[in-house]
Amino acid sequence: MAPPQASAAQSAPPGPDGPQDPAAPPAPVLEAVGVSKRFPGVVALDDVSFTLRAGEIHALVGENGAGKSTLIKILTGVHRPDEGELRLGGEAVSFHRPHEAQQAGISTIYQEVNLVPLMSVARNIFLGREPKTRLGLVDFRRMHRETAELLGGFGITTDPRRPLHTLGIGTQQMVALARAVSVRARVVVMDEPTSSLEPREVETLFRVIGELHGRGISLVYVSHRMDELYRICDRVTVLRDGRLVHTGDLRDTDRVRLVSMMLGRELARVRKEAAEGHDDGRTPAAEPVLTATGLSRRHLLDGVALDLRPGEVLGLGGLLGSGRTETAKALAGALPLDGGDIEVGGRRLRRISSAAAIRAGISLLPEDRKAEGIIPGLSVRENIVLAALPRLSRFGFVSRRRQDRVVDIFVKRLRIKAASPEQKVGELSGGNQQKVLLARWLCLEPRVLLLDEPTRGIDVGAKAEVQTLIEELAAEGLAVLLISSELEELVEGADRIVVLRAGTVAGELTGGDVTEGALLTVLAETAPDAVPPQGGPEADAAPEPGAADVPDEAAAPGAGDVPEPPDAAAAPELRKEEDPR
């Protein structure tokens, strides 16, 4: 789709020290051909093909549930594909265990550093293949020397005998990389390596990546940070809902188009809809019921501020990893904060805990329904009344009559489809589980409802019902915070959208600006804190393709010009905050 001629003219070195791409594409190192993978109830990957060329850095992007992690797990031998095959250097291979993939030269750096924290740096690097002395004992002297050399090659000086957990996350990541390289990897797969790194550590990581690139190692790079992708990657593959959406040179794909492909919204349609706008006639109160300021937590949140008024639905936008979920958790008292204030109804929450937030009238519908929401072994009734138990009890004894009354009301109102209130929640469909959780919170009569991805993983019918319900609740005067990675849901559901990026507020859309186009543009913008001072190779990636590829972009109403002011305002502020570090 993208005009290819645009790329050749302005081709810049893809990585810091990476070789130029020759005219003919190099041979593929690792290929997945027509791969499908099903898990009970879900098709995680549906006929996906993926080609990693020799010496390239290949970005793999997609939102939650797109199938990225499944694809990675197939490439690295954790899962085996149900259909399709893997080819390594042109030959079909089949890995039964991660170890086999490693031996074949495919190493993985996971999001959470997957090393043993209590063991030393050197032991971690050589675990399972320790050098031996003549007596068959582990040769620690050699191990430490080689570790120091290996890390020294990356410009890292650290005592190889130090337990891994005493190092910073960034250095731990380097150790993982060093391990990957020292097993003579041909391919290194990195799953969101920068998600918990400090900016300085990110620089070091990129330098090491450049180093690997220079040695001809091919990399698969998974990240949601647009700036990083455009800075270091050559090509990109976009997955959505388990399907392949796009593969191509990253230079030919501008940011807005990339984000729209990830989120599944056609640009043309977005623009058309944007012109129409929408108005649902709700009039939120003037006084906010909840005000949060300066919510901060290392690596996760950096001074997030927002307020919520009764009767409004505030959308919280942002790509994965931007701090959406963390903000909601912080508001609900479930994330210990380094700093920040939360006021409800004008009163400051002194001790921030789940119980205190609930008492103050804040309820959170968590993102991970299974792990953090339902108690699968308990019945629908018990799951609904769980939080309200003390209110429905007398002298510590639960009143079945009162429970039944409450449960009856909500089962009817939310149209929860269960054989009976006594059915186990674990046996219900996702949509009905979600409704049960909504009921759990609604029977507490909250003032603020935080909904984190309320419609993820539920069927279309239930989704529409939940969305209607959200409208109704807001109309009744509840303040609702809606998190969704679906643009459409966010734009249609919310009266106002706060957009997060890298744990800070990147912009806010209000009134007529609440459009998908505007949102896309804010989402795709460069994060100010990742811009290197001298303007690196990504300088051409951000604004120029936007002008070259989609010349009519600026003409689209509300798409081109709206998001600029908030971001321009936010950028200097953020830089100011960066300086003291």
């Binding site: 119980a355 609930i358 929401g373 699968p376 308990l378 939080a387």
Partner: protein
């Protein structure tokens, strides 16, 4: 990593589910039928009464253990708690039965508080937290009793062990009433439902604003008190306070009863009736084997086998 699970036939988990749920009742019934047919004088009131009297302390301890296991925990210190309460009892019997009983139960409360705090406040694994009092508790009991076996002279206490009401021994009555109370606690009280929720999904329970720490401490206190009471009753029946042997291996019997009764070790469910029947099953099994000239040795090996089967079945069901 849940997706590592291999595809299985639909029926196996269902069978495992039924086995976990009803297996213990079926097994008890089968044993009774078997003995009715093949064992002389088994299904007589005298024999059954003896069996019930013997199983009563185990049932009482197992009830507490079931609650603890329902929260994904375990309490190894119950046997030592029995010894402790048994050792304290004779010291205060001079003031009458009631004060002595209260002191003995208070020991259970203290043990429970220590265990519960170590688990919920310090965050230790339950096995570790209760191990310390397992080791130290019995020592303390022996120190208190000066390593002596003490005869019990107090008739009130002795009558607890020997009397019957309407032909049912008091000990059995107490165990029955306690079982009913614990069942009520689990099913009908806020605390009980919170307990099950905490065991079922601690993260979700905390996010729902449940007082997780308070619930955990409460559970260990209840378990301690029940064990202490079992110690008192066992002492009454023995007519002597013997802290060196009282409650030995009781933690094993109690855990066995709970597990065999179908309560999963992973928490989130408490089967009170199943626990009672689990204890009964092990008792009847032992009696059956012994009356058929099979010895303790066989009984223990069979017990080991049953535990493994029970846990394996529970695991199978989880692996769905």
């Amino acid at each position: 990593m849940t997706s590592f699970a291999l595809p299985r036939g639909l029926d196996r988990p269902r069978i495992a589910d039924a086995l976990q749920r009803y297996g213990v009742y079926a097994a008890v019934l089968a044993l009774l039928v078997f003995n009715g047919v093949f064992t002389d004088h088994f299904l007589t009131t005298d024999n059954l009464r003896t069996q019930l009297v013997q199983v009563a302390p185990v049932v009482i301890v197992a009830l507490g253990m079931a609650l603890v296991i329902g929260t994904e925990g375990v309490d190894l210190s119950v046997g030592s708690t029995m010894a402790l309460s048994g050792a304290l009892l004779p010291l205060y019997l001079g003031y009458g039965l009631l004060p002595a009983l209260l002191v003995a139960l208070l020991a259970g409360v203290v043990v429970g508080l220590v265990n519960g705090s170590l688990v919920s406040l310090v965050g230790l694994q339950p096995i570790v937290a209760t191990l310390a009092l397992f080791v130290g508790g019995r020592g303390l009991a022996l120190v208190i009793a000066d390593g002596q076996l003490k005869q019990i002279e107090n008739t009130d206490l002795l009558s607890l062990g020997t009397d019957s009401v309407l032909g049912i021994p008091v000990v059995v009555l107490i165990a029955g009433v306690l079982a009913a109370m614990v069942a009520g606690l689990v099913q009908r009280t806020t605390f009980g439902r919170q307990l099950v929720a905490v065991g079922g999904n601690r993260k979700a329970a905390a996010l729902a604003g449940l007082p997780v720490r308070r619930v955990l401490i409460g559970v260990y206190v209840i378990c301690g008190v029940l064990a202490a009471l079992a110690g008192v009753l066992a002492t009454a029946r023995l007519t002597a306070s013997d802290p060196s042997s009282l409650g030995n291996l009781m933690e094993l019997s109690a855990i066995t009863a709970v597990v065999v009764g179908g309560t999963p070790l992973t928490g989130g469910s408490v089967r009170v009736l199943g626990t009672v029947f689990g204890a009964l099953l092990m008792q009847l099994l032992h009696a059956t084997l012994v009356t058929h000239d099979l010895h303790d040795s066989t009984a223990q090996m069979v017990q080991a086998g049953i535990i493994l089967v029970a846990v394996y079945v529970a695991r199978e069901r989880r692996a769905r």
